[in-house]
């Protein structure tokens, strides 16, 4: 009988525990647990204790240089092996660069299905109810899964982690990856980081985002200045990233980043559902738009109707004064 919850944790590129891991462990706990956390990568062993502090009863560490940079062909054999061995009722992954790629392939190998990018999960008896946005965020769909394990990927920051308890005890098991380098058909030739300066978008308490209404790439200068004054980061709509006005790494939304600042200031952004998908859990949205009927106002706590060119500089000045005084 399959039982319990298995989650696949993740390390960040700088070998820290990806916060989504604690969110997955907490979700697994709320679904009834017990939670086993598997963590794959290179140099990930030191992260095991943190997974236990986050609420995992058991951690399976699969530490291998071949797993340093994610490649599906390298991750799948250990992921499949660990899952078959653990035989969980529910299997959770993060909706991350890794989870997006790994989950559908793993589901097919296990002969089951996966609900991708879920934002709400619950159990009804033995059945996992997996709720996920679709139609670009305009609608929500709730799924059940016929196969086993019932798999879901979980949107980052959609679930609260548990309070970390460093004194928690748990079992740590090491497992060999068992991957043969020759079985990895793809090859990473090069990796390039787009160096984001200043505060990371995902960690920022304030995000100032610009859209097509800025009229051109130069419109981002005043936004950068405002973000600087507020100690925040700059985001962008897909429209402006597609136009090449701002780097893709700053894109917020369904196909960009999910951000959770305390304050999100949207400048010249219309509020398409796909953009709002990236800020669905932000409580305080400020919209500056010259169109009084712009749909972004419907989700905004504060709204200013007007031309950003008149509003943003004056707002930046006043904010600077208030912060200083």
């Amino acid at each position: 009988m399959p039982s319990g919850v298995l989650v696949f944790g993740e390390a960040t590129e700088d070998a820290k525990l990806n916060p989504v891991t604690a969110e997955l462990i907490a979700t697994g706990t709320r679904l009834g647990g017990p939670v086993t956390c598997a963590i794959l990568g290179s140099g990930v062993e030191p992260l095991a204790q943190e997974c236990i502090a986050a609420g995992a009863g058991k951690v399976i560490v699969c530490d291998d240089p071949l797993l340093a940079n994610y490649q599906g062909d390298a991750y799948l054999p250990p992921a499949e092996g660990i899952t078959r061995e653990a035989d969980p009722a529910v299997l959770l992954l993060g909706q991350t660069m890794i989870g997006r790629d790994l989950a559908p392939r793993l589901a097919q190998r296990l002969g089951t299905a996966v609900a991708m990018d879920c934002v709400a999960l619950s159990m009804e008896g033995d059945k996992l109810l997996a709720e996920r946005p679709c139609y670009g965020g305009s609608a929500r769909a709730r799924y059940t899964i016929n196969g086993s394990p019932q798999m879901a990927t979980v949107r980052a920051k959609s679930q609260e982690p548990l309070e970390a308890d460093p004194s928690r005890q748990g079992e740590i098991v090491k497992q060999a990856a068992g991957v043969d380098a020759g079985a990895v058909r793809t090859k990473i030739l090069e990796r390039r980081k787009e160096k984001a300066e200043g505060v990371r978008l995902e960690d920022a308490k304030v995000v100032v985002s610009g859209g097509r209404g800025l009229g051109g790439p130069e419109g981002f200068k005043p936004l950068e200045e405002l973000a600087d004054v507020l100690g925040g980061a700059v985001g962008a709509s897909r429209a402006v990233c597609d136009l090449g006005w701002y780097p893709v790494a700053h894109q917020v939304g369904l196909t960009g980043k999910v951000v959770t600042p305390d304050l999100y200031i949207a400048v010249g952004i219309s509020g398409a559902s796909q953009h709002m998908a990236g800020i669905s859990s932000v409580k305080n949205i400020v919209a500056i738009n010259k169109d009084g009927d712009a749909s972004i106002f419907k989700s905004s706590r504060f709204a200013v109707v007007g031309d950003w060119k008149d509003i943003v500089p004056a707002f930046t000045d006043e904010a600077r004064k208030l912060k200083a005084g």
């Binding site: 090859k187 305080n284 106002f297 200013v304």
Partner: protein
């Protein structure tokens, strides 16, 4: 010339204004909006663009459009979930084989699930590279530029393989009138499951509910006689709310 198969589906226009987007909760279906035509899923047209760029690169003069279309239809294909769809497409692809490359969108813009391309690769036992912004073909290999969270990665894969493409690849070319007329003459083969020699695959997920989530936000419009006044008031309100 590599043989490239592009996967595409039709979806309700994702730019449908939110005020007109309606769901029939009982039928668990999105209602068509009168006057708004369904469109090809955006990432799929980007997939065709990726294929055409490879053709351009291989033989510039031939790059006029896709050469052949297949439409798999039938009641069984219509009620299919993502996995049944992948199985049907994999069967069709095997019938079209040999091929070098399958290009799919990273996700269909209606259900946004993002599993079909990868599932097909697993069914066929071939490699898959997801979320591409550039796809090049040479000497039986593809070189794919993948979009990562904070950068890019160049991945090489042997063929045949599956690549899923993202909007970072760029706008799909706009068909010229001549091509539209040529396309009208091109044959789109209607295939049924019987043509593929398979019976309807089992669905693996059940759609239990579909609804429009409620957003309840009280919006405070900041008024003022001038934009400057509004700006100053906004800053003060945010200060009062301890947000700056």
């Amino acid at each position: 010339m590599p043989h490239i198969i592009c996967l595409a589906k039709q979806v309700p226009d994702p730019e449908t204004p939110a005020s007109q987007f309606k769901v029939d909760e009982a039928a668990k279906k999105v209602l068509p909006v009168p006057g708004i035509q369904p469109v090809p899923s955006q990432f799929d047209t980007i997939g065709v663009e990726a294929a055409l760029r490879i053709k351009d690169q291989v033989k510039p003069c031939l790059a006029m459009g896709a050469d052949e279309g297949i439409h798999i239809n039938g009641p069984a294909a219509n009620g299919a979930d993502h996995w049944a769809t992948a199985e049907v497409l994999a069967a069709a692809i095997q019938k079209v084989a040999p091929f070098d490359l399958i290009i799919a969108g990273r996700q269909a813009v209606d259900w946004d699930m993002g599993v079909v391309g990868s599932t097909i690769a697993e069914i066929l036992g071939i490699p898959v590279v997801t979320i591409a912004k550039e796809v090049k073909y040479a000497d039986g290999k593809v070189t794919v530029e993948r979009v990562l969270l904070d950068g890019f990665e160049t991945v090489e894969s042997p063929t045949p393989c599956v690549v899923t493409v993202s909007n970072e690849l760029g706008e799909p070319r706009y068909p010229q009138l001549r091509q539209i007329m040529l396309a009208a003459k091109k044959e789109v083969k209607p295939w049924t499951l019987a043509d593929l020699g398979i019976s309807a695959p089992q669905n693996r997920v059940n759609l239990e509910a579909l609804f429009v989530p409620e957003t309840k936000v009280e919006t405070e419009f900041i008024d003022g006689d001038s934009p400057q006044e509004k700006a100053v008031k906004l800053a003060q309100r945010l200060r009062e709310a301890k947000l700056i």
